[in-house]
């Protein structure tokens, strides 16, 4: 019984690090869409998704390092990602109407 509990404890300790490494896969997919994206709109959508991946990475970094401040970093990233997406959307809309 204690053996199982020890293994579960080890699993819990490792989980954040393993998931942080696994987050490379969605990161690579998003960057691929951002580099390939046929139109500018695709790149902006990929940037929006990148914000979500970054917030998740901040949350996992809090679990890995044990420092609470990373969650505040994630909140700040969410705010700046929202503002950036709004600004880029306004830019894209104005550019489309001018043509």
């Amino acid at each position: 019984m204690t053996d199982v509990i020890m293994q579960l404890n080890a699993l819990v300790d490792m989980a954040s690090s393993v998931l942080l490494v696994a987050l490379i896969v969605p990161l690579a997919m998003t960057i691929g869409r951002m580099l390939y994206g046929p139109s500018q709109a695709d790149r902006f959508v990929a940037l929006d998704m990148l914000t979500g991946v970054a917030v998740a990475a901040c949350a996992l970094a809090m679990g890995t390092t044990g420092r609470r401040e990373f969650l505040d970093v994630g909140l700040g990233l969410a705010v700046f990602g929202f503002m950036g997406t709004c600004a880029l959307a306004a830019f894209l809309e104005r550019k489309g109407k001018m043509q």
């Binding site: 819990v12 959508v45 929006d48 949350a59």
Partner: protein, 138 residues
């Protein structure tokens, strides 16, 4: 025992978040036009990031951290639809080709709405590269 079950619940939340984020990025790669890609990225991406933040906060078991995590999740839920709406509007007006439109644009035909007059004349529906492959097989 209680702490261990809480930590296991946190791990499950984090794994669910990772799965949702992976699915969102898969949709971002595989869907046919910018609006469909945005549909995958905004909805599934928000759920994934929210689950991840909730799991990380639950693992600490600290009240203040859970408060910050709740504010973060609430902020994500409130702002992502707004950003998605602005981005979708911008995608429509920027004149990018939309899949499945079949050369007909119902919004542009509606002449009474002056807000929609700025849209570009759109190309006929684009096909994905895969569709071209299947058509040559037939």
């Amino acid at each position: 025992m209680m702490a261990l079950s809480l930590a296991l619940a946190a791990v499950v939340l984090k794994v669910v978040g990772l799965i949702f984020i992976c699915l969102a990025c898969l949709g971002l790669l595989r869907f046919a036009d910018p609006l469909q890609r945005m549909h995958a990225a905004t909805k599934a991406g928000t759920v994934g990031a929210g689950c991840m933040v909730a799991g990380a906060a639950l693992a600490t078991g600290d009240g203040f951290t859970m408060g910050v995590a709740a504010v973060t999740i609430l902020f994500l839920i409130l702002t992502v639809p707004l950003a998605g709406h602005l981005l979708g509007r911008a995608i429509y007006f920027s004149g990018t080709p939309l899949a499945g439109l079949e050369g007909r644009d119902a919004l542009a035909e509606k002449e009474c709405d002056p807000a929609l007059q700025g849209g570009l004349p759109r190309q006929p529906a684009t096909r994905r590269a895969n569709d071209g492959v299947t058509q040559t097989r037939q």
